[in-house]
C-alpha cells in the first residue's frame, strides 16, 4: 500500500461489513424478517440474506436488519416489515429474494414503498 486512497478503499469496503456491530440507533430504519417456523418454511432465510447483501452493497449504515418471531398471518410468509422513524410501518408479504432487492432500492433508498408487495395488495 502506498497511498492514503488505498487505505480509505479498504476502510470503506470493510466498514460496510462491520455495520452490523453498531448499536441500533433510534433514527435507524428497522427491517424485520419473520423467522418463526412458518417464516423459515416459506423461505425467509434467502430473503433475509438478500436484504443483508443488498444493504451492504449499497453501504446503507442507517439500516438495521433483524429477525423477528411469528407475526400471526402465517399464510402470507415470508413477511418483511419496514419501520421508519416517524412513519407508519409497512408490511410486505410473500417475499422472495428478488422482491427483497426491489424493496431495498425503491423503499429504503428512494423512499417509495412498493405498493404491490404490501399486505394490503396481496391480501385482496
Amino acid at each position: 500500500m502506498k497511498s492514503v486512497e488505498e487505505l480509505l478503499a479498504i476502510k470503506n469496503k470493510v466498514k460496510g461489513q462491520m455495520n452490523v456491530r453498531s448499536e441500533n440507533g433510534e433514527d435507524n430504519i428497522r427491517v424485520l424478517v419473520g423467522m418463526a417456523t412458518c417464516g423459515i418454511a416459506a423461505g425467509a432465510r434467502p430473503v433475509l440474506n438478500a436484504l443483508v447483501e443488498e444493504v451492504a452493497k449499497r453501504n446503507l449504515s442507517n439500516v438495521y436488519i433483524a429477525q423477528t418471531g411469528c407475526i400471526g398471518v402465517c399464510q402470507y410468509e415470508p413477511i418483511v416489515e419496514i419501520v421508519e422513524p416517524g412513519k407508519e410501518k409497512v408490511t410486505y408479504c410473500k417475499m422472495t429474494p428478488e422482491k427483497a432487492i426491489r424493496v431495498v432500492t425503491d423503499h429504503i433508498v428512494n423512499g417509495k414503498p412498493v405498493a404491490e408487495y404490501t399486505i394490503g395488495a396481496v391480501a385482496k
Binding site: 500500500m1 497511498s3 492514503v4 479498504i10 466498514k15 462491520m18 436488519i65 429477525q67
Partner: protein, 595 residues
C-alpha cells in the same frame, strides 16, 4: 456478507474460562445448521467485564450473553441465530428488562466509562488488520506522514495534555520533544509492555484486543522524534498478546504500513518484539533498555536520560502501552478531543484493572477525575457479601492505599499524590474489612524484596530489613520503637535507591501507616490483629455456651485440633490450630469465633 456477527471474548480471562472451545463449538454448530455463510464468529479482545466471562455479544441485536458454557452453544445457534429468539436465561442480568433488551452501554458497569485507549477492545478482530483499518486505523499515521510535520505532531500531543500512563505521569509531548531535539544517526522508540504490578492487566488487554493501534502509535512517535526503529518489550507471561502483536506486525509489513517509504513519504519504520523473562525491575525504563540490549536487566543511573542516551546509547523515547494507545485518537481528532476530557492537570481517560473484593472484577476506562466512590459503588457494583469498603490500593507495590474517608477523591495524578497514593499503572485492588493493612503492606513488600535486582544496597538490603520489621509486627513481637525505625527506614530507601523500584517500594508501608496507624499500634501494643488476619495474633475459640457438641467442626478440622464429647462443648487445641477458619464456616450455631 454476514447477517449476524457473534463476538466472543478472546482475552486472557475468558480464554482461561474456555472461550476457545466455545468458538470451536459455535463454528461446528453453525456448519451443521448450514449457517456458516450467514453468521460470522469473531474472536475479539477484552470486553472489560471479566467477572462475567466468557462473554459473547450477538449482533445485530447486541445481546450480551455472560458466563456462557460450551453446552449452551447449540441452544444459542438453534434459538437465536436460526430462529431469532433471544436466549434470555444467558443474558447479562442487568440488560434484561421487562419490555426490551437494554443496550450494554446503559448498564451500570459501562455507563460511566469512556473508552479511548480501549475503544476497539471487544469491537474488532485483533488478528484482522482490515477490521482495524475499517475503524479509522492507520489514518492517524497517514495524516502525520502526508499532512503534518514532526513539529506539528509533537505540538498536537503536547496540547492534548497526555501524560505517561505507566505510572510516572510525565507529559508525553515534552518527552517526545526532548528526543526530537537530539541529533543522532539512529534513534529508537520503545514500548514498555512489561506490566508487572500484581493484579494489573490494562496493557495486556490493549495488546490482545487492539495490537495495531500500538504499532500505529509507535510509527507516529518515530516520525515525530526522528526514529526509524522500534522495540516492544512484552512479558513472556502474555502469550496471547505476544502472538497477536507478532501477527499484527507481520500484517502491517505486508500492507506496507511498516517498512520502507511508508505512504510514499520517504519515512521508514521497523518494529521488533522482545520478550521479558519475568523480572519486575525490567518495567523500569533503563533496566528495560538494558534488557533489550541483551544484558541482565538492571537499571542505570539517570542522567543521562533515555532522550539523550537510551537504547544502544542512542536517543530513545519510551512510553507505556496505554500512553501509545491514546495517540492515534489524539492525532486523528485533534488535541481538543482529549483535553476536554478529565481534570485541569490530568487530561483524558485512565484504564484501571479493578480487582480484589469487588463485584464487577474487570477492566474499566474512566475520565480522569472520576471519584473512587463512583468506581467502587457504581461501576464496580459494590463489595460482595454485604461487607464494608476498607481501602483501595492503587499502583500496586509502588503505590499506596486510599482509605474510606477519601472515597470521594477524584482519581487523577495530583489528587492521589496529595493523599499519599498514586495513579500508578492502573492496578486498583479493593479491600474490605476482612483485610489487614499491615498484612497487605507485608504482601507488597515481599513482592519487592523478591523482585529487587540487587544492584543498589538501599533497595536490596533496605527492603529486606523493612520486611523483617513487618514480620516482627505481624508476629506480635514488635515494639513501639520498631514503628519509628520502620518509618525512618522507609524514607531512607526512598531517598537512596537507584531506580523507581526501590524509590517506591516503601510506599505501601508508608501510606498504610499514615492512614491506618491505629492498626499498626494494635498489632504492637495490644498484640491484636483487628481484621483477624495475622495468624499469630488471633485465636479461634469455641463458645461453650453456644456449642451443641455436634462434632461437625472437629470432623472438618484439617489438623485434628478440635476434640470433645458429643453433646458437650468441644475445645480447640491452640498448639495445633493453624487458624484456617474452616471450623468457623462449618459451625451452624455461630459458636466459633476469631479474636
Amino acid at each position: 456478507m454476514y447477517r449476524a456477527h457473534v463476538l466472543v471474548c478472546g482475552g486472557t480471562g475468558c480464554t482461561s474460562s474456555h472461550s476457545p472451545e466455545i468458538i470451536d463449538a459455535l463454528n461446528e454448530e453453525l456448519k451443521a445448521k448450514g449457517l456458516e455463510n450467514e453468521v460470522q464468529v469473531v474472536r475479539t479482545g477484552c470486553f472489560g467485564l471479566c467477572s462475567n466471562g466468557p462473554i459473547m455479544i450477538v449482533y445485530p441485536e447486541g445481546c450480551f450473553y455472560s458466563q456462557v458454557k460450551v453446552e449452551d452453544v447449540p441452544e444459542i445457534v438453534e434459538e437465536h441465530l436460526l430462529k431469532g429468539r433471544i436466549v434470555k436465561r444467558l443474558l447479562y442480568s442487568e440488560t434484561l428488562t421487562q419490555e426490551e433488551i437494554k443496550p450494554l452501554n446503559q448498564t451500570n458497569f459501562y455507563k460511566k466509562q469512556r473508552r479511548v485507549a480501549l475503544r476497539n477492545c471487544g469491537v474488532i478482530d485483533p488478528e484482522n488488520i482490515e477490521e482495524y483499518i475499517a475503524v479509522d486505523g492507520y489514518q492517524a499515521l497517514a495524516k502525520c506522514l502526508t499532512e503534518l510535520t514532526p513539529e506539528d505532531v509533537i505540538k498536537i500531543v503536547s496540547d492534548s495534555g497526555l501524560r505517561g500512563r505507566g505510572g510516572g505521569g510525565f507529559p508525553t509531548g515534552r518527552k517526545w520533544s526532548f528526543t526530537a531535539a537530539n541529533k543522532a544517526d539512529q534513534k529508537y522508540v520503545v514500548c514498555n509492555a512489561d506490566e508487572g504490578d500484581p493484579g494489573a492487566f490494562m496493557d495486556r488487554s490493549v495488546l490482545e484486543g487492539d495490537p495495531h493501534c500500538i504499532i500505529e502509535a509507535m510509527a507516529i512517535c518515530g516520525y515525530a522524534t526522528g526514529a526509524t526503529e522500534g522495540y516492544v518489550y512484552v512479558r513472556a507471561e502474555y502469550p496471547i498478546a505476544v502472538k497477536r502483536l507478532e501477527k499484527a506486525i507481520e500484517d502491517a509489513k505486508a500492507y506496507g504500513l511498516l517498512g520502507k517509504n511508508i505512504f510514499d513519504s520517504g519515512f521508514d519504520f521497523d518494529l521488533h518484539v522482545r520478550l521479558g523473562a519475568g523480572a519486575f525491575v525490567c518495567g523500569e525504563e533503563t533496566a528495560l533498555m538494558t534488557s533489550i540490549e541483551g544484558n541482565r536487566g538492571e537499571p542505570r543511573p539517570r542522567p543521562p536520560y533515555p532522550a539523550v542516551s537510551g537504547l544502544f546509547a542512542k536517543p530513545t523515547t519510551e512510553n507505556n502501552v496505554e500512553t501509545f494507545a491514546n495517540i492515534p485518537q489524539i492525532v486523528l481528532n485533534g488535541p481538543e478531543f482529549f483535553n476536554t476530557i478529565g481534570t485541569e492537570t490530568s487530561k483524558g481517560t485512565k484504564v484501571f484493572a479493578l480487582g480484589g473484593k469487588i463485584n464487577n472484577t474487570g477492566l474499566v476506562e474512566i475520565p480522569m477525575g472520576t471519584t473512587l466512590r463512583e468506581i467502587v459503588e457504581d461501576i464496580g457494583g459494590g463489595i460482595p457479601n454485604g461487607r464494608k469498603f476498607k481501602a483501595a490500593q492503587t499502583g500496586g507495590p509502588s503505590g499506596g492505599c486510599i482509605p474510606e474517608k477519601f472515597l470521594d477523591t477524584p482519581m487523577d495524578y495530583d489528587s492521589l499524590l496529595k493523599i499519599g497514593a498514586m495513579v500508578g499503572s492502573g492496578g486498583l485492588i479493593i479491600m474490605d474489612d476482612t483485610s489487614c493493612m499491615v498484612d497487605i503492606a507485608k504482601f507488597f513488600l515481599k513482592f519487592t524484596v523478591d523482585e529487587s535486582c540487587g544492584k543498589c544496597t538501599p533497595c536490596r538490603v533496605g527492603t529486606r530489613r523493612l520486611l523483617e520489621i513487618l514480620e516482627k509486627i505481624t508476629d506480635g513481637k514488635g515494639t513501639m520503637e520498631d514503628l519509628d525505625t520502620m518509618e525512618a527506614l522507609c524514607y531512607y530507601i526512598k531517598d537512596n535507591s537507584l531506580c523507581g523500584l526501590g524509590q517506591t517500594a516503601p510506599n505501601p508501608v508508608l501510606s498504610s501507616y499514615r492512614h491506618f496507624k491505629e492498626e499498626y499500634i494494635a498489632h504492637v501494643r495490644d498484640k491484636k490483629c483487628p481484621a483477624g488476619v495475622c495468624k499469630n495474633l488471633v485465636q479461634i475459640t469455641i463458645d461453650p455456651e453456644k456449642c451443641k457438641g455436634c462434632s461437625a467442626c472437629s470432623r472438618k478440622c484439617p489438623v485434628g485440633a478440635i476434640s470433645g464429647k458429643i453433646k458437650e462443648p468441644f475445645v480447640i487445641d491452640q498448639s495445633k490450630c493453624i487458624k484456617c477458619g474452616v471450623c468457623i464456616e462449618t459451625c451452624r450455631f455461630d459458636a466459633i469465633s476469631r479474636k
